[in-house]
Subunit: 180 residues, 2 copies
């Protein structure tokens, strides 16, 4: 990577990190100017990286889906069941921090459902082997598919309320996944 390329990459990462943090914070969705300010870059740099707000949101969405997919390879735990549940925590954080992004994208332009569908398929493909291993080991109940487990986690992530209110609800649902 040339120094200039590395620089551009750093700016892109800073902008996505800022957008992620600002979208996760309470209150209204952040403006482009707020995102640039938080990242410490000028508007020209912001628009060089992301020609439109939608381009930024799409990049953010894909970036976070990438992180969930990557986490399937790196999650730690003593058992297959613990690794699967640890991965569901990643997925929860992904979804919980970002459903505003998804909602705004859905109100936006064409091609977005395809983007989300593609992300969903990648996430399902990444998590499938984790669930299979955990079910084969007898750690996780066998009567649930990955789609059902993820749907359950999404349902919890959509509950309005602060993290203290949500945490025991999420924990309850994840404890319920243990083999009975």
């Amino acid at each position: 990577m040339t120094p200039r390329r590395a620089d551009a990459e750093r700016n892109r990462t800073k902008l996505l990190d800022s957008a992620r943090a600002l979208f996760a914070a309470p209150g209204d969705a952040p403006s482009m100017a707020e995102i640039a300010r938080h990242a410490g870059v000028g508007m020209a740099t912001l628009y060089r990286n992301f020609p439109s707000r939608e381009a930024l949101l799409e990049a953010l969405y894909v970036d976070e889906a990438d992180a969930v997919v990557a986490a399937a390879e790196t999650v730690e735990g003593d058992t297959a069941g613990e690794r699967f549940v640890a991965w569901l925590h990643h997925f929860f954080a992904f979804y919980n921090g970002k459903h505003e992004v998804g909602d705004e994208l859905l109100r936006g332009a064409d091609g977005v459902p395809e983007l989300m569908d593609a992300s969903k398929h990648r996430v399902l493909a990444a998590g499938g082997p984790l669930l299979e291993a955990a079910q084969a080991a007898g750690d996780i109940r066998a009567d649930l598919s990955l789609e059902q487990a993820l749907t359950m986690v999404v349902a919890v992530a959509k509950i309005p309320g602060d993290p203290d209110f949500l945490a025991p609800i999420l924990q309850t649902t994840l404890d319920g996944l243990r083999r009975v």
Copy 2:
């Protein structure tokens, strides 16, 4: 009760039963004419019992909340934990069959949030002793309030999908309530 009064009561019950069944069925929300036809009564009888669609929906809502409140006294189970979980199944059926009614009511006129709030308070008051007994007996985890347990069940009830898809998700969340 005079015969005439008993007759009116029967018609009212038939109309509410029909409205409940038709709202729970897939497809569009039923019209007043469809509800009358299903109940086997004329439109005059329908409007004598419920002067407006909103009056019917409100009565339906209150009627089902009454059933959930009453169930708190009658649920069966060998342990306090089983009785609490059995009651949550009633609550799930109440909410799952009826959130379209609630949505339509919320799009409607004044006074509805108060009605729902009052129902919520009655449901919380009815379920509180069941949860307390189950937690005191060590059957149900202690880190969840009744509001959190009901919120969790509502989140599952809101998941789109057929009953076969939802049933193991609900079961997973309820299994998670067992003391860990």
